[in-house]
């Protein structure tokens, strides 16, 4: 079958690879009908996640049709149109039973890697390096879905592929940031990053009752898209002092909840960008935590900061003093998608949550390398490139 493969740093190609197979009795094979780029893929592409092999199939946010199931699959059958969570959960360990699916204890066949990196084993993720289990990604014609009864969700009639697609990752990730960040009615919420996840976090904050939501980015088209589709306030950090602006908009307090949706390759206009860029290139720190630092400084005393952006290792100049003395709560996680996907599909079906507008560019799988180039460099206003393997 055809698949988009990582070949090395900043190098992708479409290749013929062996078809996936049912390896466990609770597996299914899904024919991928749409699969989208995600900002976290750029960390793989840039070589910041050091557990990729040449030929690995990437992609983790997808929708498709079940074409084959293992003998112990009970909730799905061939023909089901499903959205699949990017995080693989077993559904029965303590973490999954407590809705902390990205901490699943049975879905990563390479537990030694994340244990060495982070002191604990995390869940498997599709197409996200051998550290996360070595599972193939979704930028392919077919994909194997382990524990499919727990990880695939039937798409309601009337919900389009492009709407349901983002219920795989961007929408539940954003929702989690707002919900576990502790957004309550009347709150002021700031979201760093107007990519798909940031926009979903901003929308979630509004749906959870926030009185004001402010989203921050540097790209005019993304700021405009957020203002138009999410309906929140926006700040362009290239022309505005974000912390001062947030104080001015909140009576001097700062936001109650700050959601960071940027990750390890954050940009800025100041000296921090140079400092962190040099340190990251020399591998003296793995991640550039520029947005996290700003969120901690901007947050009101006693407020909450949620880290949604992907980070891999160590960072420098972390403002622990501000965190401690301001009495902040800092939290983060890979998405616990299975906790949110059914509710989000309902909201999408009712029209509360719109997502398909995020698919700014729809392409064939053969155009994968071009799609990632556009996505990485934000060409032509690309927010998400969506690949249709069977188009």
């Amino acid at each position: 079958m055809k698949a988009l493969c990582w070949q090395g740093v900043n190098e992708l190609s479409v290749e013929q690879v062996p078809d996936p197979a049912i390896l466990n009795a609770q597996d299914a094979i899904v024919k991928v009908t749409a699969s989208t780029t995600c900002g976290s893929d750029l960390h793989l592409l840039g070589g910041y996640i050091p557990a990729m092999r040449a030929g690995d199939v990437i992609g983790h946010e997808f929708i498709g049709e079940i074409v084959d199931v293992g003998p112990e699959v009970s909730r799905h059958r061939p023909g089901d149109r499903v959205v699949v969570c990017s995080i693989i959960g077993c559904g029965r360990c303590w973490a999954c039973r407590h809705d902390e699916w990205s901490l699943c204890e049975n879905s990563n066949p390479n537990p030694g890697v994340t244990d060495l990196m982070w002191g604990g084993t995390t869940a498997g993720i599709f197409g996200y390096s051998h550290a996360m289990g070595g599972f193939r990604g979704s930028h392919a014609e077919y994909i194997r879905v382990p524990f499919v009864d727990y990880n695939a969700f039937t798409v309601p009639e009337g919900v389009s592929d492009l709407d349901a697609l983002f219920a795989s990752d961007a929408a539940p990730t954003g929702w989690m940031g707002a919900e576990l960040g502790g957004v309550r009615p009347g709150d002021v919420v700031a979201v760093w990053g107007c990519g798909a996840v940031g926009q979903m976090a901003a929308r979630a904050a509004m749906l959870l009752g926030a009185e004001r939501v402010v989203a921050i980015d540097r790209y005019p088209e993304r700021l405009a898209m957020t203002a138009r589709h999410v309906g929140c306030e926006v700040i362009d950090y290239t022309s505005t002092d974000v912390t001062a602006e947030l104080r001015e908009r909140t009576g001097g307090r700062g936001p109650d909840v700050c959601v960071e949706a940027v990750g390890m390759e954050a940009d800025s206009t100041g000296i921090q960008r140079v400092y962190d860029g040099v340190k990251q290139q020399l591998r003296l720190e793995q991640d550039r935590p520029i947005a996290v630092r700003e969120a901690i400084h901007a947050c009101r005393k006693g407020g909450s900061v949620f880290v949604l952006g992907v980070f891999a290792g160590f960072v420098d100049k972390f403002p622990l003093g501000a965190l401690m003395n301001k009495g902040l709560t800092l939290r983060g996680a890979q998405q616990h998608g299975q906790r949110y996907i059914p509710k989000l599909l309902d909201r999408i079906a009712k029209g509360d949550l719109k997502t398909s507008y995020l698919a700014t560019h729809t392409m064939t799988l053969d155009e994968g390398p071009k799609g990632y180039d556009m996505f990485k460099h934000k060409k032509d206003g690309c927010v998400r490139a969506v690949f249709r393997p069977w188009a």
Binding site: P50, A51, R92, C93, G112, F135
Partner: protein
């Protein structure tokens, strides 16, 4: 040439990254210099009550296969059962290091058995990786990664 440069960059990323993680671990005295390492119990918590973990005192299959001391108790709260195991014979010092290098460390086999026991009891299966039907091709950075990942399925916190 482009591929060679990219390969070298990936190698540097992998090597330096791994080196930093290893260095970070080495700075933790308890992890690096634990005098009881070879005799410590390895524990795993299974989200099942004790009577389902060892009905009538019979150990689950993966644990029954290995030569190990085994004990278990109910976990605090609603967390199920704590299962502990360790080799009957403790190889300390240079003997233990050599056994690990030869791939004959009994603790590795027990660790794998504990992990498989947990997965079988909780899910009825042990998840296999797509790596079994590889899409990858051999490269120099890949070989470095292979060395690092070679034992990854046996490791991890229990």
């Amino acid at each position: 040439m482009k591929r060679l440069v990219a390969g070298a960059a990936a190698l540097a990323v992998a090597g330096l990254g791994m080196a930093r993680w290893a260095a970070a671990r080495a700075r933790v005295p308890a992890a690096a210099k634990d005098p009881l390492e070879s005799s410590r119990w390895m524990g795993v918590t299974v989200n099942r009550p004790p009577d389902e973990v060892a009905p009538a005192g019979h150990l689950p299959e993966p644990l029954a296969r290995v030569d190990a001391e085994v004990r278990m108790n109910r976990a605090p709260g609603d967390r199920g059962t704590e299962i502990y195991a360790r080799p009957r014979e403790h190889r300390a010092g240079a003997d233990g290091v050599l056994a690990r290098l030869r791939g004959e460390d009994p603790r590795t086999e027990i660790r794998t058995a504990l992990r498989e026991t947990k997965s079988l009891l909780e899910t009825g299966d042990v998840l296999r990786s797509d790596e079994e039907i590889a899409t990858t091709r051999p490269t120099l950075p890949g070989k470095v990664l292979d060395m690092a990942l070679g034992r990854a399925s046996e490791g991890g916190r229990l």
